[in-house]
Symmetry: C2
Subunit: 305 residues, 2 copies
Amino acid sequence: MEKIQLKVPATIANLVCGFDILGMAMNEPFDEMEFRLLEEPKIIINHTDSFGLPTEPEKNVAGVVILKILEYLNLNLGVEVSIHKNIKPGSGLGSSAASAAGAAFGLNKLLGNPLSEKELVHFAMYGEELASGVRHADNIAPCIYGGITLVKSSDPIDIIPLSSPNLYVAAVHPQVEVKTSDARQILKKHIQLKDAVTQWGNVAGLVAGILKNDHALIGRSMNDVIVEPVRSILIPKFDMIKTRSLELGALGGGISGSGPSIFMLSENETVAQNIVEMMKAEFTSIGIESLVYVSKINNEGIKLI
Amino acid sequence: MEKIQLKVPATIANLVCGFDILGMAMNEPFDEMEFRLLEEPKIIINHTDSFGLPTEPEKNVAGVVILKILEYLNLNLGVEVSIHKNIKPGSGLGSSAASAAGAAFGLNKLLGNPLSEKELVHFAMYGEELASGVRHADNIAPCIYGGITLVKSSDPIDIIPLSSPNLYVAAVHPQVEVKTSDARQILKKHIQLKDAVTQWGNVAGLVAGILKNDHALIGRSMNDVIVEPVRSILIPKFDMIKTRSLELGALGGGISGSGPSIFMLSENETVAQNIVEMMKAEFTSIGIESLVYVSKINNEGIKLI
């Protein structure tokens, strides 16, 4: 195979209560990536989007992943990657994870699949490390495996694919900046044991709801007593949007990853459409532009075109 | 129905990582309880065991549950209960939960089932409150529902029955005293966020392992970085017994409830038998008597005889 093209999905980390361990892939938005093998041993990164991301391989999220894989496999060849990002950097919708996971997945396909899925996660985490300073897999895992995934541990890597409930995702990305590093920094380093017990009760309920396909249980488990109360301060209108989404029929939802995007799950598309219209209107009313997405949960992950 | 007899199972709370939320019923040991309606409005508690438990209804775990239910249903009748406990008080095997859940279940049967399972849990928690000062349902829920249960929340009561993996339980009750209230008091009120994330990753893994019937995942999820490191100090030989159990083929295990009992799960009965022999020998070697049990996971809960 000398050339391949990929659709690489946006992902939602945490799923409210599962901070740093749960993630879910969506159908929309997605990045497009094209890979070609080169005869000369060099890496060329082209960005056809307008986000001004660096294209030097060592400074590019996809580039570092490719460098690490070529080094690991001891291959002296070149790769050209063209990336068209539709997932905006800084959206909290797994933009860096898409570049990183897409790079690992695409290069692996191009080379005839020498690496396992777990190894793809391992190498993709170098991209996340470059983007945010933290080797985390909560966006990468659903991007590669599809559906909803549990990162039981990222060192050693222990990924448990859960399943893909037949649900709709309504998501809004308000055009305000929340840096992942800031969103991490404002979290308290210590928490109360009683809050942790509430949280792991919700995490257990959410995992059970996903695996038993119990939508009501999924909804009432998406409560976060630890991270959301702190991070939601960084997102204007968060409480109002959450309350109104539930009134409109959402099962539940909250901050996507470290924000500023907000997502809501619902059982039907009309509810999801009503929710994104409300979200957009709420942000417009305070002069903030926003992008909205309605999508089913993506059960395939990255897809070859 | 004027007289009924019950077998009320021992239960293991926490299942290592699921502090205050998970619990599991065993087939052995179990209490026997017999209920009779009386014409006179009085409550008689007989203990045919030798544990010297109080028999005044207001001071007896089964008694307070019966009082609360009769008051709630506004019934002016009497009940005689004979209890033969085989689950030793203070074992960490759900002795008080058995009395409390058995009382609620038995009286409800005698009265023609006016109460739901959730209401039985509600009333049985008055017994736990009398025994330990805390209204918790992690032993009561599996006693009533059978199998492994998740107490997502105890106020409001939200119980999620999980399932009953086809596994064996090896348990040892060393004859040392660990009071539930002491075991609770030594816990730190604040914990590190990073430890909490590790813990809820394990909780999520354990719930997924139980529902996917993935025994290896169950085993590697039964790790507790928060409660066990503190409570295990109260239990002589704990670390040695855990290490040797894993060497003998246990999937995993740890402290049962607040201890001092220790349990281990395994896929076959021979492994479980080898483990309890080792456990008994370890305690004998330091002059501590112990009771051991080998049992399958009980998927029925309380049973009418």
